[in-house]
Symmetry: C2
Subunit: 376 residues, 2 copies
Amino acid sequence: MTTETAQTLHPGTQTVTVDTGRERYDIVIGHGLLALPQCWAGLPRAAQAVVVSNATIAPLWAARLVQALQPHYCQVTVIELPDGEAHKDWPALNAIFDHLLTHGADRKTVLFALGGGVVGDITGFAAGCYMRGVPFVQVPTTLLAQVDSSVGGKTAINHALGKNMIGLFYQPQCVVCDLDTLQTLPQREFIAGLAEVIKYGPIADEGFLGWIEHHLDDLLAREPGALAHAIRRSCEIKAQVVGQDEKEGGLRAILNFGHTFGHAIESGLGYGQWLHGEAVGCGMRMATDLSVRLGLLPPEALQRMHQLLVRAGLPVRAPDLGADCYLQWMGRDKKAEAGEVRFVVLQAMGRAAVQGAPDEVVRQVLQAAVRVDALA
Amino acid sequence: MTTETAQTLHPGTQTVTVDTGRERYDIVIGHGLLALPQCWAGLPRAAQAVVVSNATIAPLWAARLVQALQPHYCQVTVIELPDGEAHKDWPALNAIFDHLLTHGADRKTVLFALGGGVVGDITGFAAGCYMRGVPFVQVPTTLLAQVDSSVGGKTAINHALGKNMIGLFYQPQCVVCDLDTLQTLPQREFIAGLAEVIKYGPIADEGFLGWIEHHLDDLLAREPGALAHAIRRSCEIKAQVVGQDEKEGGLRAILNFGHTFGHAIESGLGYGQWLHGEAVGCGMRMATDLSVRLGLLPPEALQRMHQLLVRAGLPVRAPDLGADCYLQWMGRDKKAEAGEVRFVVLQAMGRAAVQGAPDEVVRQVLQAAVRVDALA
């Protein structure tokens, strides 16, 4: 899709371009996009399209998307996966392959990931492997997916021994963020998505952090103008980072701020107990605390993060899994190398770096995190 | 590994370079390579290496490879998969992931595929997906793997509904063909591998076809000089084709000469009844027959292919699965587009092309193939 096409779609539609050097694609952000046939006109030609969604999202949005795709493909089918992080696994992935093969999908078939991060990650992985790669499009319907997981080409499924352990870097043809879909999102999921929006402030843009603090009530009320700005700015930062480091050789790792602790929470509790964004929210507080304890940040920075997370309704007290359990899960993090856990830390508000940390300091962070008082 | 390193390994060691434009690596061909520590000196540094092999090959060759790797990695472990095409599936792939995760393998861990085409395909796929990609090395121990499957970065597992349906293009760091490993290969497997050597003649080099016809007895006796030449020339042709078309946009499909029919034989009979090379041998005869019936080749060309395949000990009569069964399996071939089956045909001996064919001509080929007399 060209920028010109996107801007003729609806007034106010915005475009952010991701350019990894090897691939280039647009993130289109606007209202009512999903149901517009012209939104899908610029994609690769194929005999068929397959919409991958889940049991929650499909009843709300799949029919509109299918109708908008029908002018472009002879056959459009929908596969519904079970909803939830617990199903980001091989059986769900294989259900997509079964659907594709029984429907005679060929090497040109285009997949559409209609849903949140789980649907996007698993559909992207399926597209990357089916017949060694078919095109796919991200149509994220959650805030978390729109600002984070749908952009940048990370795809994966979980393994019993670790989250996102099996996957690919595989870029979509484009990302279409229809803001209307956010209006049907349950509040808990919406707030979880805000954690990934907030993330972009501390790691890359203190000004954006200030904007979020100032407009948090508008965001929580899902005010369209505030949402559009927050999503565009988040996508811009993500696109800039991914453009410099597609495969997480270095810089890209800063996008995992809060994720090393967060993944340990998710894994330790069992996938699906906490939402990913909730775990990341709590993990960002822990990573900020770590940065303070390492002498990188003044204590006021922790206070600032803490207050914003609490105002947003995100959890700040970590579940008491025991420090050894945390350390064990963090040792399995993909950023770990030869057993050493690597953390994303803040060198200042708006500037992140990746480094190791002494075990005893990490233990202090863990011990403090399970005793955090939200009202402190 | 640099060419200079390779050539200091053993007298007579030869190198063929694959250059896809995005990646560049060497195929090293020689004697006693596997057990030489200096053969593995140029690979990416890592804390650990994992050798993936199978229950047949590991007892013969794994200890030598492990010993040669130990100077370069703190930890070298071996995982043995069950042997055979029937196990080129998700459970075997997941067994590799289990091994990697329980051994704390990180994003730098190097995998070594020690075995035939099944081990190479599945290990390459595992390497491409584990933590979104770790380096791997092909150490093919069968003739088929040395001349074909280990070169070019095609990796895959089978799906119940089709062969190699789930996979990646993922290039190895290098390919090390130790000619000594061919001496322990059962004759049936060796002959199956010859089918892929023979293939390079009709599709790309009539002179090489003549050389094979002239040296077939030496090859069947596994005479080292003849083997070394056949493998080097096969790898050169494959490297040239893959270098021009890594992802099978066009030219690369010619490497599948005989494979559309061959895959239908393998799938129709159930994986593992015929060896892959046997099915390809029979399939090449069928594809040559198709080329003759389409008026592209004179009937003498079919006679020539037939005689060579019979002399090599490859099957020329197709199993009688029924034409509908063949057509159904061929319709699922990855080269099929929007239901139309695409065949690799010969426009002359030494020149291949990809095209469709009328159903009735394909049916004539199928009907004739099940009545072929090897002595004709």
